[in-house]
């Protein structure tokens, strides 16, 4: 019976090309959206590259300084970092950075590059691959040496085939000595990405007022086992800093969170520091809305498709199909169609991920700093099966009501051939 239904299913879908197309299109697009959304989220949370060990990292992206009178939200300020965070005992290493775009004007027009001002701990926390030279050390940072580590893109742009190390590079009117060249950082590595790295001490314009927010993001590297201890030490530190703010000000850290929570921070209002539960509910709500449209579409297509087959159902009933058999047949066909749609969706996603990788990277991580060649996208088959399961549930839900309705249909009504 199942084998025959399987063969008949293909005959039926071949004949009802339009509805088959609509149905397959709906399911495959839904699966593609889910998979690409998963790719986007995963590539942002676990970007690989220098952040491949980010499960051992904790991040503070921003801080909130608030009182009855006003509220300030922004990056971590240098006084909090230099006087407090950097002295913490539990992290294995601490990195902090501040981003500055650099517009280079030449005969070719304006070229945009990204410069990060970082501390020496930066090179311990993130795992950069050096092609030439070395990173700058603690002494060079303390001395505010005019040194820079550049990526392969900058090397190719300004020094072509020559050795870049030892050469001078003029950035925004200042001369820097190149001491190292790293492999290009994929542009989805939001925290570690830059074209040029210089010591943060070279800039003096940072905010020095502890009651103001600052310009930096902070990353702690843990030993892998002491994430809780780092969080606890940060909390103690926060409580010790609050009295220093005076005038009724209080301080909140946007962290230290692991990669997942850091990503989730962007989904909710950045000024709110609600618990994970609130954040997850917010994401689920948005995902539900995202799924609702294709789901409604699928349901309406199923209704039309089944209604179109009422004559066939009447004939089957007249020739011995029971209600149960008709319901089973319709649901079986819906299931096969959904699985087929999901496979097509998966194939299209595979093609996009492996053949049009650069186009996808541009869509997902578009920006002026494009280093897309090293991005590695992976299809999450767990998510694929969740998507398939969701589509199956939707398909069954959308199929079962019309199937029951049609199975109850009076065969005589649909088969009435003229008046008797």
């Amino acid at each position: 019976m199942w084998k025959t239904s399987f063969i008949q299913f293909f005959k039926i879908i071949r004949q009802n090309k339009f509805f088959t197309f609509l149905n397959l299109f709906g399911v495959s697009i839904t699966i593609m959206i889910i998979l690409i959304a998963a790719i986007k989220i995963e590539s942002a949370i676990w970007p690989g590259g220098p952040e491949k060990n980010n499960e051992n990292m904790l991040f503070i992206k921003n801080i909130l300084i608030t009182s009855d009178k006003n509220s300030r939200f922004g990056g971590v300020s240098l006084p909090i970092i230099e006087d407090h965070l950097i002295k913490m005992q539990t992290p294995k290493a601490i990195a902090f950075s501040c981003e500055n775009p650099w517009s280079y004007i030449s005969d070719h027009g304006v070229e945009e590059f990204n410069v990060k001002s970082v501390n020496a701990g930066w090179w311990q926390v993130f795992d950069f691959e050096f092609i030439e030279g070395r990173p700058f050390n603690q002494q060079e940072v303390i001395d505010a040496s005019w040194v820079a580590v550049i990526d392969a893109r900058i090397k190719n742009r300004f020094f072509q085939d020559q050795n870049a190390v030892g050469q001078m590079l003029e950035i925004s009117g200042k001369m820097y000595k190149v001491i190292g060249v790293i492999k290009n950082v994929p542009s989805n590595c939001e925290r570690s990405f830059a074209n040029i790295f210089v010591p943060y001490t070279l800039t003096e314009a940072y905010n020095r007022d502890i009651r103001q927010t600052g310009e930096f993001g902070v990353t702690f590297l843990s030993s892998g086992k002491n994430l809780k201890e780092i969080k606890a030490e940060t909390e103690n530190l926060r409580l010790r800093i609050i009295p220093l703010l005076q005038e009724g000000y209080t301080l909140y850290f946007g962290g230290p969170y692991g990669p997942v929570s850091t990503y989730l921070q962007g989904w909710v209002s950045p000024t709110e520091y609600a618990g994970d539960r609130h954040e997850i509910m917010s994401i689920l709500g948005k995902l539900f809305l995202l799924m609702l449209l294709p789901a409604l579409n699928l349901i309406s297509i199923q209704l039309i498709r089944i209604h179109e087959r009422s004559e066939e159902i009447g004939v089957r009933k007249a020739f011995g199909a029971s209600r149960g058999e008709l319901i089973k047949q319709i649901l079986y066909e819906n299931t096969l169609l959904t699985i087929l749609g999901a496979i097509i969706g998966l194939l299209f996603t595979l093609i996009i991920v492996y053949v049009f990788k650069n186009v996808l990277a541009e869509m997902l991580f578009s920006g002026i700093f494009e280093n897309n060649e090293n991005i590695q996208f992976h299809i999450n088959f767990g998510i694929f099966f969740i998507g398939l399961f969701t589509s199956l549930v939707l398909s069954l839900m959308s199929g079962i009501i019309p199937a029951i309705k049609m199975s109850r249909l009076q065969a005589v009504e649909v088969l009435k051939g003229g008046e008797l």
Partner: protein
């Protein structure tokens, strides 16, 4: 073979009550070829649906092949239809997405028969109606007469004891209609099939064993 006793069928809507069949008593013997005639709306279709177990009477008893049908559940009725009854419709009602062979196989799908035996039976039945050369064609590729012959093949593929034909020549010209009637008479004589045929055509009805006439939901002869 078919026994209807005091059959009444009433259709009720919120405000209106329509009596489609009233006090109908009909017996059809095994191997009989019976025509049912009457003006439009007189209850012929309701009668055929009740005999075909596609509709239930409001009152009265239906027995087919000495089995009382009243009170049987959907599954048993479906099984009974599959084993004992074959339907031929005025508009053929072939499934357009399936080829001729698959259409003829349809009643056999609901029996425990292997695929190869099913194919063999369907092929033999198509040979009986002279269409074995059209097995892989689709209904849209056939003429009206050929479609009705496929519909007959489908109706008899499961070797039912009773054939219920609803104006089987209604959509055909007289030549094709004649061919179809010839096949039905042949089935009645050679295979001893009991046939109940609804028709408007007096000349076709006159060639059957008996005519049952209806008027306004009542049997008039």
């Amino acid at each position: 073979m078919i026994h209807l006793e005091n059959i009444q069928k009433i259709y009720r809507t919120r405000n209106i009550e329509t009596i489609a069949l009233d006090q109908v008593n009909i017996g059809v013997k095994e191997g009989e070829f019976v025509s049912v005639m009457g003006p439009s709306g007189c209850g012929k279709s309701t009668l055929l649906n009740i005999i075909g177990l596609l509709d239930k009477p409001s009152e009265g008893q239906v027995s087919i092949d000495q089995t009382l049908i009243n009170g049987q559940n959907d599954k048993k009725l479906a099984h009974f239809r599959n084993e004992k009854l074959g339907f031929i419709f005025q508009r053929f009602h072939l499934i357009n997405s399936l080829n001729i062979m698959d259409n003829v196989e349809l009643p056999l799908l609901y029996r425990k028969i292997g695929a190869s035996k099913r194919k063999k039976l369907a092929q033999e039945t198509l040979e009986r109606v002279g269409l074995s050369h059209r097995m892989i064609h689709f209904p849209s590729e056939l003429s009206g007469g050929q479609c009705q012959r496929v519909a007959i093949a489908r109706a008899i593929a499961g070797n039912p004891q009773i054939l219920l034909a609803d104006e089987p020549t209604g959509n055909l010209d007289s030549k094709m209609g004649g061919e179809i009637m010839e096949i039905l008479h042949q089935l009645n004589k050679e295979s001893k099939m009991t046939i109940v045929m609804v028709t408007h055509d007096e000349s076709l009805a006159s060639k059957t064993n008996r005519i049952i006439r209806f008027f306004d939901g009542r049997q008039v002869n």
